[in-house]
């Protein structure tokens, strides 16, 4: 670890503003679950006044969504996210990593193992999982009682065919533009229809597409869990792969993966590892784009959409994914694209930029808190009176679908890209 990293959080003056915005603090109401408390723990650890031998450190530093709402509201720009991730590396050193996270890291580290696991899952799908339909978004429940995931939890479905298997490595286009696609595991294996929509839009715009087969998991979930050396290996693989690929932009329909590559890769090499790869990571970072950003700013899509209609009129509200909104700074673009669709009635919900409570493995480790936060989101969605909630992130989609389901709501959950695709085709949502 580079000493410079502590500068990123030492600007904290303990004013307490973070308490007024943190979604976890709102539920827990005590100092160990807010940015100021997290920063104090890592500061005292570095000073040598404290160690993390107490088991509580796992809860205190694990129970953070890394939603960065605190970073956004901090007048001194203290990076609590970096403080928490760094602290987690120390917690891991002492207490180890939970078995399921170890397996996750192992499986995610190799495409073949990941493919195989998902194929096995698919094969035994009917035995292991129960498909749940007629819910805000189709998903599965685990059939058997197990220590990791609750039986009633609405999980990502498993696609029969992965995105990377489905499409060729390159798709021609007559347009002078050329993009590469990094698809991300959730869309590759589960919400493959989001990937389909992305390709359809690119085809409509006649843009040449490269889909490198050898792309590996971005490593985001592994990095956020404090297993930085493992994430670093994946980062290197992706950096080496994509630096050879000529494309104006690398589109990632998964803001968590996009954040990992755009924001976290440079941090890994700046703070946690030797910085031989730093320049390369920064170069890659510049090309990473969320599709809504790329379509809105670099293509004519918005004008095309103005003449398009969904088959039926819909009222739609939009949820800001934390990674898309705060980490990537994309807030208006998806809204503008959606508003352009003629018979789409856009309704802004209350606190659209509040975290949905998913936070990746947070929702596994702290389900109760995660669902409490999700309930607030679900309530705001329901109050908006929209019939569809749109967001740009699979994690949010899964969480919101479950939160709405618990509230017995039938409001459907869609990805921004899916809605745009449906409008282009004149289909119903």
């Amino acid at each position: 670890m580079n000493d410079k990293i502590s500068e990123s959080w030492d600007s904290c003056v303990k004013c307490g503003i973070c308490r007024s915005v943190c979604p976890v603090f709102k539920e827990e109401k005590s100092e160990p679950f807010v940015a100021r408390g997290h920063i104090t723990l890592i500061q005292e650890l570095i000073k040598g006044n404290l160690n993390f031998s107490d088991k509580l450190s796992k809860e205190y530093l694990g129970k953070c969504l890394l939603c960065t709402t605190c970073v956004e509201s901090c007048p001194n720009n203290a990076h609590t996210d970096l403080a928490v991730i760094t602290a987690r590396t120390f917690v891991n050193k002492i207490h180890g990593v939970p078995l399921y996270k170890k397996i996750m890291a192992q499986v995610m580290s190799q495409r073949k193992v990941l493919d195989l696991s998902v194929r096995m899952g698919n094969m035994f799908s009917s035995f292991m999982f129960k498909t749940v339909e007629n819910v805000p978004r189709k998903g599965v429940n685990v059939r058997m009682k197990n220590p990791i995931v609750e039986k009633d939890r609405l999980l990502l479905p498993i696609s029969k065919r992965t995105f990377l298997n489905k499409y060729p490595e390159s798709i021609n286009g007559k347009n002078s533009k050329k993009v590469a696609v990094f698809i991300g595991c959730a869309v590759n294996y589960s919400y493959t229809e989001v990937g389909d929509a992305l390709i359809n839009i690119l085809k409509t715009l006649n843009i040449e597409v490269i889909i490198p087969k050898n792309q590996v998991c971005c490593g985001g979930p592994i990095y956020y869990a404090g297993m930085i050396d493992k994430a670093e290996k994946l980062a290197k693989k992706n950096i080496e792969l994509f630096e050879k690929i000529e494309a104006d932009a690398i589109l990632i329909p998964e803001p968590t993966c996009a954040t990992a590559i755009k924001v976290e890769y440079p941090r890994i090499f700046e703070y946690f590892s030797n910085n031989k790869y730093l320049e390369k990571a920064k170069k890659l970072s510049e090309r990473v784009r969320d599709p809504s950003d790329y379509f809105y700013n670099d293509t004519d899509l918005i004008n095309i959409l103005k003449n398009k209609k969904l088959k039926k009129e819909h009222s739609v509200t939009y949820h800001d994914s934390c990674h898309l909104n705060r980490s990537l700074g994309i807030k208006q673009e998806p809204r503008e694209l959606l508003k352009a669709i003629e018979n789409l009635n856009f309704i802004e919900m209350k606190d659209a930029d509040r975290c949905c409570g998913n936070g990746g493995t947070f929702s596994v480790d702290f389900r109760e808190t995660s669902l409490k936060i999700g309930k607030r989101k679900a309530q705001n969605i329901i109050n908006s009176t929209a019939d569809t909630v749109v967001t740009g992130c699979s994690g949010c989609m899964m969480q919101i679908a479950e939160a709405l389901n618990i509230e017995n709501s039938k409001i459907s959950v869609k990805h921004t890209i899916e809605v745009i695709d449906k409008a282009l085709r004149g289909e119903d949502l």
């Binding site: 003056v13 303990k14 004013c15 307490g16 308490r19 109401k29 100092e31 723990l41 107490d54 450190s57």
Partner: protein, 458 residues
Amino acid sequence: MYKNKVYKKIKSLLGKRCLNDKLSKVQYSYDATQKMYSPDIVALVENTNEVSEILKIANKYKVPIVPRGWGSGFSGGALNIEGGICLSLEKMDKIVEFDKDNLMVWVEAGLVNYDLQEFLKPYGLFFPPDPSSWKFSTIGGNIAENAGGPRAVKYGVTKNWVNGLEIVLADGTVLNVGSKNIKDVAGYNITDLIIGSEGTLAVVTKALLRVHPISDDKKTIQIVFNGIRAAAEMVNNILNSKIIPTSIEFVDKDAIKTVDDALNVGFPKDAEAILIIEIDGGIYEVEENSKKIKRLCEKDKSIIAFRVAKNEKEADEIWIARRSISPTLKRIADGKLNEDIVVPRSKLPDMIEKTQEIAKKHNLYIVSFGHAGDGNIHTNIMYHTDNNKEIEAAKKAMDEIFSFCLKLGGSITGEHGVGITKQDYLEKQVGSDNIKLFKNIKKAFDPKNILNPHKMRL
């Protein structure tokens, strides 16, 4: 020591909400002063009964006990400087009773000021005290420090809006003081004695607050000056023209620069001072008063920009610049002596000029901003913590500022409280007889001196 016994007793009362591990203790050891004093036990209470039981234990074993809200105080009021029990009331945040007909509300002490405002808004009501920390300070904390805010010019401070309290005495006795009656002169006014007592006399568990209708209209005006004295004089001009604005805030050159660096507000480069004025009232009244202020400003040659916010968004932009000053000061230097002196309003120009003179003399950055409408200035003496010379100079400058402030008939603290940061100056302001009386009052309430000991020289 009885530490273990005390812990066991509180643990059996609160279970998981009683903590004594190192990690938890360190997270309850600081407030916005950034000083750290670890408590021995953290008690996360949920109701008055628990507070009472814990006080009984603390009193029996003579353990210091420090009430705490959201830990955003600037005078160290919530610090366990002698260890003991940290009595955290953050989980007591309910609205207990809303009495719309009497325009009053009973709330628990841990309720955040802003959350109360959000609750009242749909009814067209508000709670006037609005410290800059309103989103992250509790009603209990506001009462303990008698907090004020920008609106004090017209609406006064916390004490003007509290009609009664539920308090727990050092021996665990729970009692109600005050009432819903607007007029009530039966007995001593204990409510007002508790307000501003910084947790040294009793623990406030609930408060009966008066609320006020939101005015039909309001306007926010920003006036930029090229001279500091002119800004201070404008404050008196406005008030002498029979206009009582809700607030008149003042920002000096260095504060302007700091905020501009942080938020890119785009203030004029030659700005020496800014006044932010908010007026409220009926639609006609607000229009009339805003015109009056404009006319006053047209005559003043030292004004380089004048702006009336057209809508709420523009008003927010003006206010965010003011509210962000305090937390952004770290950009100038990592250390600051943060004072909130107050002088009679007419003496404001003298105080500001003297402050600048003192800054120059000691070669220091002193950032001044605050509530010009009530004479309350936040004086921030900036220094680098690794520079001993600067630290010394800062302390000297502070002494000089305090002395001059007292000479003008001012006070060492307008709203932050005395706590530990200003207790060395308290006697100088109030005199030894007053201190003697303070001590006697303290003894009457808390004979064993367990409640927030060693604050305010008690």
